[in-house]
């Protein structure tokens, strides 16, 4: 009887043979104790949605956003000083310029070199350095489409690039600064794709939000149809530690993998990922945060696989957190966008200090849902929150309005016809530090346009109307929930076909300079809904500016 030895058998035999090179007697009998410097600090691949992101080395990075953060000491644990680059060192930028697409508070002065062509190549022009960076670091054959020099700083250059196939659509930008006499890459951004404005470094942890805005534009060699099924948005985040960083090259694959939304489940082109707060405080070594959109069946950056060059968008910076953050301010809107201001609130929610209504979220939808669910009594009373539309994305991306349907757990217990849910809008705005906060809410069934709020005396006047015949009540409270004043509850007879109207009379409350929450509820049927006997069938709320006797800090306007 003959035995056929296959090549696979040969491989198997070779592995078995070579494994015997390891002599068990030569190995330590116990794990070694003491502090060790790990070769790589990398968490094993986990199950579930995290799983396939973690293999940044086994998937092609089709679009990427990355930060490399030189971490500060963790507030809870770190006591040793952190070794960081001296921000005042010769050759270090002193520019206060801000590069679009980077996290809030991070300007050029924070950026350590991403790529340095080297002293021997000091004569390279910015476009040449950018080209080498994209080719060597990212694996992209790019075409420089434009070079921009800001009028205020001739040592800064932005090279906008498209793919090497000759497309003229910009895919991203490489930002360079002349330091020590030569051009160095300090950032690569794709602001149309990756929204990193919500990310920040605080207390030794990465916090905030990053998102893919879903405007990926693929090159001809990839093909849009090829990607439709497999890439829909931000695929995940990789938080890594690399002793190589910030000197080039950084290994993008090493890292502690922290989040991996399920791409298939995401289904869309916008997939925000909340960072706050990520894991354990970071060790005082350089860190990298990488957001990648990947296709799971092709090679990784830097591998020999030709598809590895399928990097369409890439964002990367190295941040020195010892540099004080750029003061926010420009992202604070002065007015609600017009189409949001037309909502039947009656009161401009931007009049006073913008405060939360006990709700915040990583994304507009989350903030809106938090608020809506809370308003209707919590999760035990709401069976479904259905986002219907995100509206009002202003050019700055600071405002959004979530139109949604909330289905009560027991529709029959609520006044009016709510079988298909109560519909309304929650207005949210982005905070300076990332995330979203709800600032106002309306219900289709309520009309607050008749309400006036007089900052001169803190009085609420006018009337509230409800399309649904049901009892109405207006409550004024602090944003923390302390009730300051409550209107009478309108009376309602079930046979009354007309709408409910609540005359506020002269609901006056001295707020001692604190902002207050105006809440209007429709439906108040003790004993019918919920544990505390209050059934809220519709809801509207807005934070009003504070008022004080001396008028300090209060806008001198009356709205209504």
């Amino acid at each position: 009887m003959s035995t056929t030895t296959t090549f696979e058998d040969e491989v198997r035999a070779m592995l078995a043979r070579r494994s015997a090179d390891i002599d068990p007697a030569a190995l330590d009998a116990r794990p070694r104790d003491g502090v060790r410097i790990a070769l790589v600090d990398e968490r094993p691949i986990r199950r579930g949605p995290v799983r396939w992101l973690t293999a940044a080395a086994v998937v092609a990075v089709l679009a990427a956003g990355a930060l490399v953060l030189r971490d500060g000491p963790a507030a809870e644990t770190a006591t040793a000083p952190v070794t960081t680059t001296d921000a005042t060192a010769p050759g270090r930028s002193s520019s206060t310029a801000v590069i679009p697409g980077l996290p809030a508070g991070i300007g050029v002065a924070h950026l350590l070199p991403l790529w340095d062509a080297g002293a021997a190549e000091a004569d390279l022009e910015p476009v040449e350095v950018a080209d080498r960076y994209l080719a060597d670091r990212i694996g992209v054959t790019a075409t420089a489409l434009a070079t921009t020099v800001p009028p205020t700083d001739e040592d800064l250059v932005t090279v906008t690039w498209g793919d090497g196939a000759g497309w003229t659509t910009p895919l991203g930008s490489v930002h360079l600064e002349r330091r020590d006499g030569r051009w160095q890459v300090i950032a690569a951004t794709a602001p149309d794709t990756f929204d990193l404005a919500g990310a920040r470094l605080a207390d030794g942890r990465l916090q905030g939000v990053v998102a893919n805005r879903g405007t990926l534009r693929w090159g001809a060699e990839i093909g849009p149809a090829d990607l439709t099924a497999s890439v829909g948005g931000l695929a995940g985040l990789v938080l890594g530690r690399s002793s190589d960083c910030p000197s080039s090259p950084c290994e993008p694959e090493t890292g502690i993998y922290i989040a991996m939304p399920d791409l298939a489940a995401a289904g869309g082109s916008t997939l925000p990922v909340e960072l706050a707060p990520i894991g354990e405080p970071l060790a005082p070594v350089p860190h990298r945060l990488q957001a990648v959109a990947v296709r799971p069946d092709v090679g990784a950056i830097g591998e020999e696989d030709p598809q590895a060059t399928a990097v369409a968008v890439f964002t990367e910076i190295v941040v020195d957190p010892t540099v004080p953050p750029v003061e926010p301010g420009s992202d604070t809107p002065s007015a609600l966008p017009e189409h949001l201001a037309s909502l039947p609130l009656g009161i401009d929610p931007t009049v006073g200090p913008v405060r939360t209504i006990e709700a915040w979220g990583a994304v507009p939808e989350a903030a809106a849902e938090d608020l809506a669910v809370e308003a209707f009594g919590g999760l035990d009373r709401v069976t479904a929150f259905t986002p219907l539309a995100i509206e009002g994305a202003d050019p700055d991306g600071l405002w959004a309005a979530q139109y949604a349907s909330v289905v009560p757990l027991d529709p029959a217990a609520w006044p009016g016809d709510h079988d298909d849910g109560v519909r309304g809008t929650v207005i949210v705005r982005r905070t300076d530090t990332g995330g979203w906060t709800a600032v106002a809410a309306t219900s289709d069934a309520l009309d607050l346009t008749g309400v006036r709020y007089d900052v001169a005396d803190g009085g609420l006047r006018g009337e509230v109307r409800a399309a649904v015949p049901a009892p109405l009540r207006v409550t004024v409270s602090t944003v923390e929930g302390e009730v300051l004043a409550t209107s009478d509850l309108t009376t309602f007879e079930g046979s009354d076909p007309g709408p409910s109207v609540l005359d506020l009379g002269d609901l006056l409350e001295v707020t001692d300079g604190r902002p207050v929450l105006l809440r209007v509820t429709l439906g108040d049927r003790p004993g019918q809904v919920g544990l505390d006997g209050v059934g809220v069938a519709a809801f509207a709320g807005v934070v009003l500016p504070g008022w004080s006797d001396d008028g300090g800090g209060v806008p001198s306007t009356t709205t209504g």
Binding site: F7, E8, E10, V11, R12, M14, L15, A16, R17, R18, S19, D21, I22, P24, A25, L27, D28, A29, R30, P31, R32, D33, R36, A38, L39, V40, D41, E42, R43, P44, I45, R47, R51, W52, L53, T54, A55, A57, V58, V59, D244, P249, E251, E253, T254, P296, D297, G299, A300, G302, E303, E304
Partner: protein, 159 residues
């Protein structure tokens, strides 16, 4: 035979982890060696993986699988770093060729994904799903990696 008699227990180490190390260390070091071709690195990788496991020990559902994946990941990271280092400090242009164990030398020419897939398949005898889990890819991709890896090995040793 793997020694099972352990030195006195260290209070800082969970006994179960020490036992797991004792039971699995030879297999893990051998696995790491097949992935890196470097004895010292293989042992360091396993030690690092065990050390990293210690603070998380209570939260690990399947410690043996976790430890193996940790070792594989660390080996792959080490390989990537080696590749990066070679890119900036390339070896002499003259190709030394394959040694006496040409298949072993050929294994070292594979990329980390292909090499890992080959080792996990033909040494660990893991199914596609387990390899996919370790590599973070789909089972179908594992089959492709194995096929391409074998093809590359065969091509490498062909006269």
């Amino acid at each position: 035979m793997v020694p099972t008699e352990l030195p006195p227990a260290d209070a800082a180490w969970p006994e179960a982890l020490v036992a797991l190390y004792a039971e699995r260390r030879v297999a893990l070091v051998r696995l790491a060696y097949l992935l890196t071709s470097d004895r010292e690195v293989a042992e360091e990788v396993v030690q690092d993986a065990v050390l990293a496991l210690r603070p998380r020990w209570d939260g690990i559902a399947d410690p043996p699988a976790y430890l193996r994946t940790a070792v594989v990941n660390r080996c792959r990271s080490w390989l990537r770093r080696q590749r990066t280092a070679r890119a900036y400090d390339p070896p002499p242009a003259e190709d030394p060729g394959l040694g006496a164990d040409e298949l072993w030398d050929a294994l070292a020419t594979l990329g980390d994904r292909h090499r890992t897939a080959i080792v996990l398949r033909f040494y660990e005898d893991l199914p596609d799903a387990a390899i996919a889990e370790a590599l973070g890819c789909r089972p179908a991709t594992v089959r492709t990696l194995v096929r391409r890896g074998l093809h590359a090995l065969r091509k490498e040793i062909e006269p």
